[in-house]
Symmetry: C2
Subunit: 210 residues, 2 copies
Amino acid sequence: MNPAGKENRRTIRVVIAEDQGMVLGALAALLEIEGDISVVTQCRDGSEALKAILTAKPDVLITDIEMPNMTGLDLAAELKRRRTGTRVIILTTFARAGYLRRALEAGASGYLLKDMRAEELAEAVRRVHQGLRVIHPELATEAWAEPDPLTDRERQVLRLAGEGRASADIALELSLSEGTVRNYLSEAISKLGANNRVEAARIARTRGWL
Amino acid sequence: MNPAGKENRRTIRVVIAEDQGMVLGALAALLEIEGDISVVTQCRDGSEALKAILTAKPDVLITDIEMPNMTGLDLAAELKRRRTGTRVIILTTFARAGYLRRALEAGASGYLLKDMRAEELAEAVRRVHQGLRVIHPELATEAWAEPDPLTDRERQVLRLAGEGRASADIALELSLSEGTVRNYLSEAISKLGANNRVEAARIARTRGWL
DNA sequence: AAACTTAGATGACATTTGTCACTGTGCCGT
DNA sequence: ACGGCACAGTGACAAATGTCATCTAAGTTT
């Protein structure tokens, strides 16, 4: 499993966090092929990953975003706060500007999409380990700047509305009056150029604002 | 890469179809570790996979469902029709009864979820190659029998409504009167025990009926 | 031929949703 | 001290949505 020898000289120690077991194991297998990379822990949720990182002190964390307990973005933010030296690569399905922005704010060193070629992952790990930053080319282009126009309340309300909850229901849940909920929704709809709450929620979701 | 020797004696030839390059390559790496399995082609969409299978004649196809050009389910159906001997394993994120049912109707030999443990994939390949059937345990339990209660029209209308289209808009698209559209939606909502079109669409989607 | 089913339509009605204008409060930056 | 902004609310109105009973014109069954 380590063809070119040099067992321990400069192997990059990696932790992977990914909730789909199949993908998790497969990524580990992919990286283990490389002689200079060693996967020290595989984690299936965010808080598990946090624990693993604090004890194993890996060089690089590769993490999905949407996971149980703690998202990859929360994880990155937490590692930044704690000043563990671990560098973070976000590896996700979603090409959403909001996610990318939040990832960079959380101090992540990489943001890659799962539809990249598999061979590029190991190279990205090496780059990041050297202190470089790797961003998926299509996302790096800028134009992806467009900041989230929604306020916190608008976002909350829109999220629930997108699940099919009625205004009165949402009002109850957030302890607001129904009129206020309708006002926030109306605002969100107009900000996003949608025709109704459902379309608004869809737009916000694809932009990574939800 | 083939520790236990016995290079060619009984290696199972596999084609993988999966649109996320990273996952595709990783799964291939995972299987290549096994001495008795060989990944002969990696495909990133359905029609590409069909071509590859017709020329390479593999023992087993591992395929995602949602892919460009041709879904994994269509692919399975096509292989059944053409009587290639290739056995099919569906490997997907979605635990939807509708998908499972359609997979079995299309003659698939396996239906696995990506959140299984990675180690189980190779074993599933061997089982399927021996003529056995492997279904993800939670889906095999029955109870997942519950058949789709929606009529074709209800399904069509609900799909559009779930995207945020208005009744009048849907009516136009399907050449129906607006009242009829509302009737279908009302029926669907009541059949699914939902409170409105959005919730109904969500329910139908998670059950694999959309 | 009579009975039944299905897709589609109407009209009436109550409820929900979306819009607007307007009133406050508190916080932040200058 | 002032303007701007997020937050919260009210009231009123128009439009969209959801429900129901009822109707017709095919098709199928029996």
